[in-house]
Symmetry: C3
Subunit: 156 residues, 3 copies
């Protein structure tokens, strides 16, 4: 094998790893809505690092365990028992070595009185970290898109 061919193998491995990282992260973000609306507390929690955080509109979670508790909370159980979708759009991802940032918008649609309505639109910013067994959310911030500058600043 010539040096050139070894170099081609090296380059392919590096490029493929980058593609796999991007896909893994878009898939992780795509799985959040279905899991949280299913009420799958362990499945949602497993998306976060053990010490990962989730800051959403005055609710500050500081660990995987906190996230699990949020899914099991009376508030969330009431929401999904009535019917809802935490509908996240496709994530825009930037990978930098073992860290990554993902951004997407979301809408919360609720079922009530036989109909459906949009209850919130939000900006979502994810900081992710590569761990031994894959990518995990290190911190997530979600803010309502109600005109506040802070929410807009999460999207850029």
């Amino acid at each position: 094998m010539t040096a050139t061919q070894a170099e081609r193998l090296d380059a392919l491995e590096a490029r493929l790893r980058h593609v796999e990282d991007q896909l893994a992260i878009t898939q992780l973000v795509a799985s959040y809505g279905p899991l949280v609306d299913a009420g799958d507390a362990d499945g949602v929690a497993a998306l976060w690092a053990e010490d990962g955080s989730y800051d959403v509109e005055g609710w500050q979670m500081n660990s995987r365990e906190d996230v699990r508790a949020m899914v099991r909370s009376e508030g969330h159980q009431h929401l999904i028992a009535g019917g809802c979708t935490h509908f996240l759009g496709p994530a825009s991802v930037r990978v930098d070595g073992d860290d990554a940032v993902a951004v997407c918008e979301s809408v919360l649609v609720r079922h009530r009185d036989g109909g459906y309505s949009v209850r919130r639109a939000a900006a979502n910013h994810f900081g992710l970290r590569r761990e031994a067994d894959g990518w995990r959310i290190a911190h997530r911030t979600t803010r309502a898109l109600d005109g506040a500058a802070e929410a807009r600043s999460l999207l850029s």
Copy 2:
């Protein structure tokens, strides 16, 4: 070429095939909404296996031909003539050899009386199969997220 380099080629091919499978399936699911809202009966039908099924809220389709007939039906034609989007979120995909499962949420937005409103939020579960010329839907189940436990169970 040393054994190690042959092994690297083998590994690259296997990893790339997995990436291609994931992408093909997310693309297949992403194409459903645009095709069905365009009224492209053949395009929609081609997403299904010849014997594929689609079970949606009391409408049971058992073949590609049944899916084509659904798109051509008076009900669906009326819906798209008034203006609507079958808006599916990004699919969460798990590939296992020649089979795969994809899950996503969706909202149906209709145009009426000069405005738009959400008419339904739903859970979607796809079973897919690798055929000679690519991935096809073997069975799809869609249920309204109106609080019923069955819909939630499709998402996990």
Copy 3:
């Protein structure tokens, strides 16, 4: 290295390039909503080719500069200052050499009077071109899904 192994490298490079192209384009489309709702005029403009066009409901932009001016316009700034999401679904992409087509649906959700509502559902058709430093939008057409046949024809 045998011819067969050289051929495997060639095939891997071609397949990986196709995957990278698909991902780059889905990522580009996924970044539009967050950037435009952040009011990031330069970020949005950079998605277009220098001479790229954007035709949306009677607003015809014919350059990257026109797109930048749209984001900075009083109309758009008013929209995002009140709170909104230009929520685009996952793009369905077809790559053909240095050209590509991407299609997706979108909804515009606005915040007003303390609540949220869907103001528009639309069909989006992107023509893209590979430039020296990556994919850019050569032309984009967006039409409201209000029942008009033109919008539906963009989706197929």
